[in-house]
């Protein structure tokens, strides 16, 4: 009879071929999916070549996505993207995605049904933790780990202990997954979940739609976590059933499982949140923001570039105009979302309001391109990090928020709550 385990421990044990694991155990696991993008793949490919295997461990279990510096932003970026493409062609990698069929890696992988509950995913990108929303174990690693995984199909990992976050109550209007995770980061701090599994639990999360779960799991890394995870339920199963025939493995945490910490969060009092410069844990309620004029608003990214996010933004922007002196840039997270947004009339509403709509990519999130900030400029952004210089000049400022606050801020030209628009 095994001792009770958390969902994270169960997935890790299963992939290590062990009956049970405990926090602190150093184990070697089989990887179901190894992921890299145009800036992390070149180093991973170099590592793969140094290891010297002729073939990748499984061409069906690797995903290579061009999303960070595409459409190619300059010659070096183009060279990196081509290197990744050539490798994908040489090794017959099934899941290679570039512009026109792809989008942001952490948006398209679930969309294409590449991850199911019970999977173990390693990605050379810190926001790989996003797929924990599907009840998978999913974590970010560096290019060397990824190169080794492409060669061997294995990775080493230390079993994390779990912090369980229990969300209870009813959400106030305009409050969504982004506000919940920002509030949580404000509580825990950027190191508060260091090396831990963040388990998102409580009655409320069972009602959250998938898009909002992806948003929350996406930012687990901002608390220092190894992974973020939701127990799979009917909502999860409906989502994947529409996208893949692969059978999920549905794990749940055992009632007596050992947890490092339980944090209970009553959402009734939570307003839309804003993370002030220069840290994702520098969080305030939007009503406490004060007067902060903004030069740019960005809606997109692997955090909030999904259809629900665009719907919220277009609902607030319909019949309104972006404030003079403020730029609004919107980037749908994938080609599919882009098409859906066209069909639903969302893009028309956004463009009529004065927004600029970009091709599915990471864009300005990491200071790449498509909306870099000048010295002294301030932006409200639905992205996930706002350290100094994140979106451009070291003396620019980034305020993180959800799509509702972002849209309201675009209309009023300053940080604003959607309630101020009189909806």
């Amino acid at each position: 009879m095994n001792s009770p385990m958390t969902i994270t421990e169960k997935i890790l044990a299963a992939h290590a071929g062990l009956e049970a694991v405990s926090p602190g155990d150093l184990i070697k696991v089989k990887v179901d999916l190894a992921l890299a993008n145009d800036i992390t793949a070149p180093l991973a490919i170099k590592v793969f070549n140094e290891i010297g295997r002729e073939k990748v461990f499984d061409p069906e279990k690797i995903a290579l996505v061009a999303d960070h510096f595409v459409p190619n932003k300059d010659i070096p970026s183009a060279q990196q993207a081509k290197l990744m493409k050539d490798f994908a062609l040489k090794h017959k990698i099934t899941h290679y995605y570039e512009l026109g069929e792809g989008g942001i890696e952490h948006v398209i992988l679930p969309e294409k049904g590449l991850v199911v509950p019970g999977d173990l995913v390693m990605g050379a990108d810190s926001h790989t933790c996003t797929y924990g929303a599907l009840g998978a174990f999913s974590t970010g690693v560096g290019s060397t780990d990824l190169g080794a995984a492409m060669a061997t199909g294995m990775a080493w990992i230390k079993v994390p202990s779990t912090i369980r976050l229990e969300y209870m109550g009813t959400l106030r209007p305009w409050v969504g997954g982004k506000d919940l995770i920002l509030f949580t980061l404000g509580l825990l701090g950027v190191e508060g979940a260091n090396y831990k599994a963040m388990e998102f639990a409580g009655e409320l999360v069972k009602k959250l739609p998938m898009d909002q779960r992806f948003t929350m799991a996406n930012m687990a890394v901002e608390g220092g976590a190894k992974n973020g995870i939701f127990e799979p339920d009917d909502i999860t199963c409906n989502y994947i059933a529409q996208r893949t025939r692969r059978e999920p493995v549905l794990y749940k945490s055992d009632p007596g499982a050992c947890l490092e910490r339980i944090v209970q969060i009553d959402v009734e009092k939570i307003e839309p949140q804003v993370a002030f410069p220069h840290s994702p844990d520098n969080v305030k309620a939007v009503s406490e923001a004060g007067h902060v004029p903004v030069d740019q608003v960005f809606i997109g990214s692997c955090t909030n570039g999904r259809l629900d996010d665009l719907r919220i933004a277009s609902h607030l922007l319909e019949g309104r105009r972006v404030a003079r002196g403020t730029r609004l840039i919107v980037i749908p997270g994938s080609t599919l979302i882009y098409k859906q947004a066209i069909r639903e009339g969302i893009l028309e509403i956004l463009v009529d309001a004065g927004a600029v709509v970009g091709p599915p990519c990471c864009g300005p999130c990491l200071g790449g391109h498509m909306g870099i900030l000048a010295q002294g400029e301030k932006a409200v952004s639905t992205t996930n990090r706002n350290f100094i210089g994140r979106m451009g000049h070291p003396e620019s400022e980034v305020y993180l928020a959800g799509p509702a606050v972002a849209a309201a801020s675009a209309v009023l030209g300053r940080i604003a709550s959607p309630e101020e628009l009189g909806n």
Binding site: P76, Q80, A124, V141, G142, T152, M154, V190, L366
Partner: protein, 164 residues
């Protein structure tokens, strides 16, 4: 292995954008990474750092992105070891994987001044000031990480063993 070098001090939460700004991520060339290490945070660093110098930092060093360019830039700049109160987890494993030694130590930041000369023993974790008056100890590197460091990184480790 005993190291000797001058201290460069950094505070808490030095993130990967500070270590190597994203605009320099379109290259993997070590020279270029070294030249842009800490480009926005300490612009004088890349010109003034000497081989064997050491980074001493507060908590959560290397937080943010998984980019391996961060420890690579530090290593390419000639830094021999990074000593911090704590490390962000992806930076921690990336550093070992590429053969950049790191040590966790509660007291190093308080004990050593910017620019001072210190000696570090990677095996024992002992760190002392040049005049020998200050001595602090780092947490020992876990056995598995030590094997990777001794091999020179994850790739030589795998190549030598034939597998992970």
């Amino acid at each position: 292995m005993k190291l000797k070098g001058h201290v460069w001090k950094f505070g808490d939460n030095v993130d990967t954008d500070a270590i190597i700004p994203a605009r320099f991520l379109n290259v993997s060339d070590r020279e270029l990474l070294a030249r842009n290490c800490f480009a926005d945070l300490r612009p004088e660093f890349s010109k003034s750092v000497r081989p064997g110098d050491m980074v001493v930092a507060g908590s959560n060093f290397g937080c943010g992105s998984s980019r391996e360019h961060a420890p690579l830039a530090i290593k390419a700049a000639g830094v021999s070891v990074v000593i911090a109160r704590s490390f962000a987890r992806i930076f921690y494993r990336n550093a070992f994987n590429i053969g950049l030694p790191i040590l966790e130590c509660e007291r190093a930041f308080r004990s050593f001044d910017e620019g001072s000369s210190i000696e570090v023993d990677l095996e024992s974790g002992e760190m002392r000031s040049g005049n020998g008056r200050i001595q602090v100890y780092a947490k020992p590197i876990p056995t598995f990480m030590r094997e990777i460091v001794q091999a020179g990184g994850l790739v030589p480790y795998i190549t030598a063993k034939g597998s992970l």
